[in-house]
């Protein structure tokens, strides 16, 4: 015990030994060879951990076994220190310090051995870059095959939809035509028959509409909307208004644009579909009490860094308390007296959400609505 406390209290003392130069017969050459080699080793054992440290700093999260690497850095530094002290001893025989550093180095070295032992099984499972490359190529090929399959299925689906809808529409068209002839044959005097015929006509019209709507819905589900381009918003809006000129004219709607954002990169088909649905809704659900005003505004939200387009109208409005969760659902309608299929907002919402966006609605009954699309 005394030896231990003695050891530590005299740690840096060199009085009990001669400097190595004077201990035994050291020639100049031999001594300096020894000193130089130790210093070279110390320098290398400083540079190596430094490189490891630099690597760790640069690729912090990507290097496996960070803890083992730190242990390596530590034990190499300590090893280097032992060699430095060994060189110093030629002048200052700090043998106690030397023993202590050697001891610490020994401990750390064995900790590293243990850590390596723990880590080797995992290390053996790691894949080399070449192996990973092969795996990536395999997966890519699988994806490409899968993609091809999907494209083919999509096309098949498309053809199926059109065939099915055509085969449904043909007989319905025939019924329509025959009813017209029947009406003409009956003449206007027979009210009962005329009434019955009209009811048949209504039902067939519904069948036709349902077929058209189902076709539209499936088209949306299967359309990837990949025609992404830089869209001039004003131009596209004008296109929509001119393509639906009659509807717009008869509604006497006053439509204004406030475009703080002039262009947007998006699928043109999808964009047209979305804007068309919102504008048509504003026109359909206009209020009989006032002339229709539609304001279309675009803006860039600096907080979310997204483009937003709002369509604001002064129409009938929606009772959001009642309808909010059903608004975008399929075939859900809230007005009997206005024609509609309950499909427009469903499709619009689907397109927007599929592309990672959102629709927000604000509305008051008999005041109007604002539909905001966040792209």
């Amino acid at each position: 015990m005394e030896e231990v406390s003695d050891f530590f209290s005299k740690l840096l003392w060199s009085e009990s030994w001669p400097p190595r130069w004077y201990c035994g017969k050291w020639t100049g050459f031999h001594g300096w060879l020894y000193i130089f080699s130790n210093l070279a080793i110390w320098a290398a054992y400083f540079a190596i951990p430094f490189s490891l440290f630099y690597m760790l700093k640069k690729k912090k999260n990507e290097i496996p076994f960070v803890k083992v690497l730190w242990l390596f850095i530590l034990f190499i530094l300590l090893c280097g220190l032992t060699h430095l002290v060994d060189a110093i001893i030629f002048w200052e025989p700090v043998y106690r310090l030397s023993a202590l550093i050697l001891f610490i180095t020994a401990i750390i070295s064995w900790v590293t051995v243990w850590a390596l032992y723990k880590v080797i099984p995992h290390a053996l499972t790691l894949k080399s870059p070449q192996q990973l490359e092969i795996i990536v190529n395999e997966r890519t090929q699988q994806l490409a095959d899968s993609n091809q399959n999907l494209v083919r299925l999509n096309k098949d689906m498309d053809n199926f939809i059109y065939s099915a809808s055509h085969d449904l529409k043909s007989p319905v068209n025939n019924i329509e035509g025959l009813l017209q002839l029947l009406k003409a044959e009956m003449g206007p005097e027979n009210k009962t028959v005329t009434n019955l015929i009209e009811k048949i006509e209504n039902s067939t019209a519904k069948v036709k509409n349902t077929v058209i709507n189902l076709t539209d819905i499936v088209k949306v589900q299967t359309n990837p909307y990949e025609d992404i381009q830089e869209i001039n918003i004003r131009e596209v809006l004008k296109e929509i208004l001119s393509e639906n000129e009659i509807l717009v004219k008869t509604s006497h709607a006053k439509i204004t644009f406030t475009l703080n954002v002039e262009t947007i990169t998006y699928s043109k088909q999808a964009f047209k579909s979305i804007m068309y649905n919102l504008i048509i809704n504003s026109i359909k659900y206009k209020s009989p009490d006032r002339s229709l005003k539609i304001e279309i505004m675009t803006a860039h939200n600096p907080v979310t860094n997204r483009n937003e387009i709002s369509v604001k109208d002064n129409g009938l409005g929606i009772d959001l308390d009642l309808c909010r969760d059903k608004l975008f659902k399929l075939f859900k309608r809230f007005h009997d007296h206005i024609e509609g299929s309950g499909v427009g907002l469903y499709i619009t919402n689907k397109i927007v959400e599929d592309k990672g966006g959102k629709i927000e609605v604000e509305s008051s009954v008999n005041v109007g609505s604002v539909f905001k699309i966040i792209f």
Binding site: Y162, H166, K169, S170, P171, N173, N174, E176, G177, L178, Q180, L181, I212
Partner: protein, 134 residues
């Protein structure tokens, strides 16, 4: 003098043809209506009734063509027509009369030399517009 010497209906749907015939008769644009069931029969009819140089008495002046028919559909008929009778427009006008509102069909039809694309069912309004356009 009726507007068209004769009209040819190309459609495999009997009911549709029944309706079309009544409407055409009512519109009084012609006295003679012929019907064939598909593009193949239409080709034979047209080749035999419309000689390449002159448009015969019996050559139809107006053809209503359905698109989806068995044996040979409307598009194939139009291709064949272009190949064997490239100046057929001298003899007759073709209107596609179809249930299909598939934009793909409409675009494809426009690539051929057709006078117009009418959606079924045929009615007096459409006939009126047709006879005004001709």
């Amino acid at each position: 003098m009726k507007k068209f010497k004769s009209v040819l209906l190309v459609d495999d749907d009997d009911t549709s043809n029944f309706i079309s015939e009544i409407i055409i008769n009512k519109s009084s644009i012609t006295d003679s209506i012929s019907t064939v069931k598909n593009g193949n029969e239409a080709m034979k009819f047209v080749s035999s009734h419309c000689l390449p140089e002159a448009c015969d008495e019996e050559c139809p002046q107006l053809i209503f063509l359905d698109l989806h028919m068995p044996v040979m559909d409307g598009f194939d008929f139009l291709s064949e027509l272009n190949r064997h009778m490239p100046d057929h427009t001298k003899c007759f006008k073709i209107y596609v009369l179809s249930s299909s509102s598939n934009p793909h069909d409409m675009d494809k039809a426009k690539e051929y030399n057709i006078e117009g694309y009418i959606l079924k069912p045929l009615d007096m309004d459409k006939m009126r517009r047709l006879s005004l356009a001709s």
